[in-house]
Symmetry: C2
Amino acid sequence: MTTAEKASPRDRLLDAAARLSYRDGVSIGIEALCREAGVSKRSMYQLFDSKDEMLAASLERRMPGYQARLTHPDPASATPRESILYVFEQLEKRSVEPGYHGCPYLAVLVEVKDPEHPASVVAREAKDVLLSTFRTAAERGGARDPELLARQLLLVFDGASARAGARVEHLDDGLTTTTVTALLDASGMR
Amino acid sequence: MTTAEKASPRDRLLDAAARLSYRDGVSIGIEALCREAGVSKRSMYQLFDSKDEMLAASLERRMPGYQARLTHPDPASATPRESILYVFEQLEKRSVEPGYHGCPYLAVLVEVKDPEHPASVVAREAKDVLLSTFRTAAERGGARDPELLARQLLLVFDGASARAGARVEHLDDGLTTTTVTALLDASGMR
């Protein structure tokens, strides 16, 4: 895809679904979605079985970018501690951007109450990848209980993204890196 | 209110709004709400200006009960540390109950993207009360930075309630009390 004009109807729908559901929630209407994408409802239903499937596909499509943003730019030289803290530094940076509403995957998990919904399945996958990244770093860094530490880090990540996304908290004073440092120290991690 | 039959239309609407929005999300329809409450749409609009106002009132009505559940049953004898840990023990207990979808106030903050929405205003208030409870306990317990500790505890509380509510985490092995204990120790709290 080079320019917005050249994007296929499928890509335009996926972009619109990601953008509107992030901004307004997963209950956005199909009319609004098709209007935003410049695609007819008829074409939409030729491309996707349902809005739910389209939403799931839009979340899946964004996953590589999401993961890349949370990965240390020099993973070979970064210590496990640095690679974990990098994730939270990125979270803190993004949280002050205009239009920030928290982690899109967590938002979907909270909004869609049904764990079997196709979008919930993709969102859970994104969260599992982050958990597994934390666990691997915790193992490499010699944490006493890498699984426990990884789960603790996700509590902080999701709590911070939900609270900052809802504008009841601000992270730009290093709240999450301070919190995570205390947990890394307590875990015996180098 | 003694029995469901004797509840006023207003109370039936508020109960239905709390129950359905918690289970299905804030985008529940007015028809479904009125049907659940056994109240006509016409009567509803005589009682409330809008669905948003009704939702906010339903959240406000539940606040005393919510706060009571998180308050140590013997606040005079509980140490500050005990009163903080009690909040998380309650969270861990509730998280395994059927129909648990996390903290209702956090869910509203995540679902309603507009901070000026009447329901967001009430939800923020509920969260501020909990923050202030934590801050007071942190001060009494001699934490080096009571405000920081209170904010950290809210990250854990909201992260845990969002993740357990979405069934991507389970708290019944003491995940939050372990995490909070590490943060209380790091804060220098007695």
